[in-house]
Amino acid sequence: MQTKLDRREFIKLAGAAGVAAARPFQQTTAPGPDAAEKDLVMLALDAARSAGASYADVRITRGNTELVATRERQITNVSKNETYGIGIRALVGGSWGFAATRDLARNSVAAAARQAAAIARSNDRINPVKTTLASVQKFPDGRWMTPHEVDPFTIPIEQKAQLLFKTNEEALRVKGVRFVTSSISSIRESRLLGTTEGSLIQQTFFRIGPNVNVTAVSDDNGDFQTRNAVLAPRGAGWEYVLGLQMQENVLRWAEEAAAKLTATPVQPGLWDLVLHPSHLWLTIHESIGHPTELDRAMGYEANFAGTSFLSPPEKVLNKFRYGPAFMNIVGNRTESGGCSTCGWDDEGVPAQSWLIVDKGVFVNYQTTREMASWISNLTKVRESLGTAYGQDWASIPFPRMPNVSLQPNTQDVSEEDVIAATKHGIYIEGDGSYSIDQQRYNFQFGGQVFWEIKDGKRIRMLRDVAYQARTPNFWNSLALAGGKSTYRLGAALNDGKGQPQQLNAVSHGCPIALFRNVNVINTG
């Protein structure tokens, strides 16, 4: 990233970005590899091979983030972060070794490659089972870039701060609102991947994560309530932030924070739930995204993230009924705007889309090259589905979640139609507290705003709502899904998995949806 040095240059750049915004994004403009980085990748691959690796992959990543954060009328953080280095994964005799360094001198890179091979060899001495990799097409000049209109790093810090200050000011106009925090994170990441099988792939990712959080406090300091706007991060440029209209919408979020102070505490019991996409995405993430990771199902994450109720594969694939016949779930690394969207995964497997749940039945997991053969006799899919990902140069690639999305109703069902189909229910907007067990059965989710629905109409605000359910029962209580017009993406930049823990950015699309007779508790 070329950071400019003065205000005038910042503004000049912003002007240039404005011109760029008029042009539709073309994937053909994605940059290719830097010559020096390409040389280092080749050097590391050679060194790993010479040290005995039967396979190696090398990633040079340069991650840039910029954060502008405020509270009320003041700035709390302006920062930029750059992390740059090389990670080498080597396979020796069927065992993995990994080494990474920030030192990009040629001798250090070669030493790290040899170290990766030496660690692999050390592990292989005691490993009874050998890793094999599914075949993959070679891509000697792969290039991809997140589709975007305006590079967020070209927007001046002052412009971002002003947008946040104006948003905060609007919120503070509401009686009872005492605190507002807001921020914008901009992320750009360059990834150059080389493999001993001949692929060389350069990708450039953009992600942007805005956030607004409003707190209202009662007059006597006896109670406080927060309303997080739940603005989903997106694989996109600055145009996404502008489209959110934070200044215009914050008034509603602030009024809702204040209204929560005097809202009616929920009566625990069985309620129908109308779940807005800004809430439902997280339920999908936890109760469908994670249990359909094949490494979990096979015990690879047993010591931390856990295993999966969807196991063993031969007992559940093509047999387990996840939900009703109109329920279709897709794993999709090509979803427009998705935080996990890419051109290739970290093993050089092309991005793709596949059914995980087909007409309510579980039909496939998420796989990498190491895992594809474990279930290919059941799925007839011999190649990886492309879910390998390492957080950065310092992190070993392993299976991470693609965008996993609930497909909308083929009929044009609106939000009003879904509410009208509800007699005794709660409408939940925004994600709140969330927790699920280590096999993904028992979960409990809160939210941001809760409205009681009576006889097909939203009548009053409720508070302290959370629902507890068992995954298969919950999804089989899905009664109605909204149409395409209600479909939205939710997302997180910080999904944790693995030891050492790595973070993954992932999106989940879904329509508004109605679930019958779910157990609701009062968390007050």
Binding site: T3, K4, D6, Q74, V78, E82, R102, A302
Partner: protein, 454 residues
């Protein structure tokens, strides 16, 4: 004690000072602050009775914070060549010039006196890939011998931190941390047991005992049966207690309390300092020099971190004050706790079990998330060994539960405290913020619903 002549991981004090001086020499801002974090992270990971991955990463990260008046901005980089450092300094200064003013900014600290702490243990810093693999293989062998399945993680961190300001402040700390955790499951997936240790010193990590304990738990939990949810007397083993108590690390903030958005806010205004809120046997301190749980004696801003008593015999004794909030309230600044040390009693775990007429023994917890900050309540699940106790004895293994529990109430409902120990309190198995807690016997713990998970 922990010092040897061997080269430590991470930059030395001299190297750190030289790097800080070089960067400060490039600076043109009114004030500049430098933070350096350096060192290695090594790991070995097992699953399905094999080593699945292992690796080592070394890194140096420099944060440059530039200040013009009350305009503040920072740049992080891990590129240390002269040109890259100069670019990072210029970037930080350019950002600071255009950043809006922060009215709460206070001038950089001058030279400070820090308590002397050396948290670097050579036993941890010198640990090799081969030694990690040998330790990991003990868990695999124990599981293999019983035809069970092991998954484990050994996480090692060794390195240093430094802080410097253009007002001549300099601080340096060097430390290590290691965590070793192990889950053993039956091949049919119907039982699971866990054990783990965490410390600054690898020599205290008992790999054989971890393997034995995880295997014992897995054996004992076989044949679990249903138990109704409800309020129970529970015994939280040290790891379970630590996983909950570590959630208290973030609640001792004076500003949150004074502003009316904390469990320690007083109705009508102010905070609850001096009030007796918990059982009188509850005492919570933090101390950077705590043996085997050492932490840096300074914050990123260079503020000294002292030994602090947060809760003394059940009374809220201290709250943390940022420099700005301290000035506004007319008190001395006080840094947040850097570790969590809770006093205990003399009871052994067996003594505690013997004292229970009907209750539940909990090994560890999972997916703990906040519910209501007003009462410091959390939800989460039990995991890897949950047992019904009847008439002073383990009666039978029972299903896992989701709990919904206020920590304020928990600390008021403590019945017996055992001997404190450092625990692997991070759900991810990472060697993290040191947490030393006793096992706890607590009444009226809410096990809200059954979880089928194993």
């Amino acid at each position: 004690m922990q010092n040897t002549n061997a080269k430590r991981h991470g930059l030395s004090a001299d190297e750190s000072r030289q790097l800080c001086d070089k960067i400060l020499g490039l600076a043109r801002a009114d004030h500049t602050r430098i933070n350096i974090t350096s060192g290695i992270q090594g790991f070995t990971r097992t699953a399905i009775n094999r080593i699945t991955t292992a690796g080592e990463t070394n890194n140096v990260t420099v944060r440059i914070t530039s200040i013009f008046g009350k305009r503040v901005a920072s740049v992080d980089t891990n590129r240390l060549d002269d040109a890259a450092l100069e670019r990072a300094v210029r970037d930080a200064e350019a950002l600071a010039k255009i950043a809006p003013e922060n009215p709460e900014y206070l001038p950089e600290l001058a030279e400070q006196k820090y308590m002397p702490v050396d948290g670097y243990y050579a036993s941890t810093g010198d640990l090799t890939t081969e030694s990690r693999a040998r330790a990991a293989s003990l868990g695999i062998k124990a599981a293999d011998a019983s035809k069970f399945v092991a998954a484990g993680f050994i996480d090692v961190a060794a390195g240093s931190q430094a802080v410097a300001t253009s007002n001549r402040l300099f601080g340096y700390y060097s430390g290590t941390a290691v965590a070793s955790t192990l889950t053993i499951r039956t091949p049919d997936g119907l039982s699971s047991g866990w054990a783990g240790d965490e410390d600054a010193d690898w020599n205290t990590i008992e790999s054989e005992r971890i393997a034995e304990d995880a295997l014992r738990k897995c054996r004992a939990w076989r044949g679990k049966t249903a138990l109704d949810p409800g309020k129970y007397e529970v015994i939280l083993e040290p790891t379970a207690a630590g996983m909950l108590m570590s959630r208290m690390l973030g609640v001792f903030d004076a500003r949150q309390a004074d502003e009316g958005r904390s469990s320690f806010s007083k109705r009508g205004g102010g905070n609850r300092l001096g009030e007796k809120l918990f059982d009188e046997r509850v005492t919570i301190i933090s101390n950077p020099a705590e043996k085997n749980a050492e932490t840096s004696p300074f914050t990123n801003a260079g503020q000294p971190v002292q030994r602090e008593v947060w809760v003394d015999k059940g009374v809220l004794k201290s709250l943390a004050y940022s420099r700005f909030w301290a000035m506004k309230q007319g008190v001395a600044p006080k840094a947040n706790p850097s570790n969590f040390v809770m006093s205990g009693g003399d009871a052994s775990l067996d003594d505690m079990i013997k004292s229970v007429k009907r209750g539940v023994l909990i090994t560890r917890l999972w997916y703990i998330r906040g519910l209501n900050p007003r009462v410091i309540s959390f939800t989460g699940l039990t995991r890897d060994g949950t047992f019904l106790i009847e008439n002073g004895k383990i009666a039978r293994p029972v299903t896992n539960f989701r709990f919904n529990q206020s920590l304020s109430e928990l600390l008021a409902n403590v019945e017996v405290l055992g001997r404190p120990t450092r625990v692997a309190a991070d759900e991810s198995g990472a060697a993290g913020t040191p947490v030393m807690v006793p096992p706890l016997k607590v009444r009226n713990f809410t096990l809200a619903s059954v979880s089928d998970a194993i």
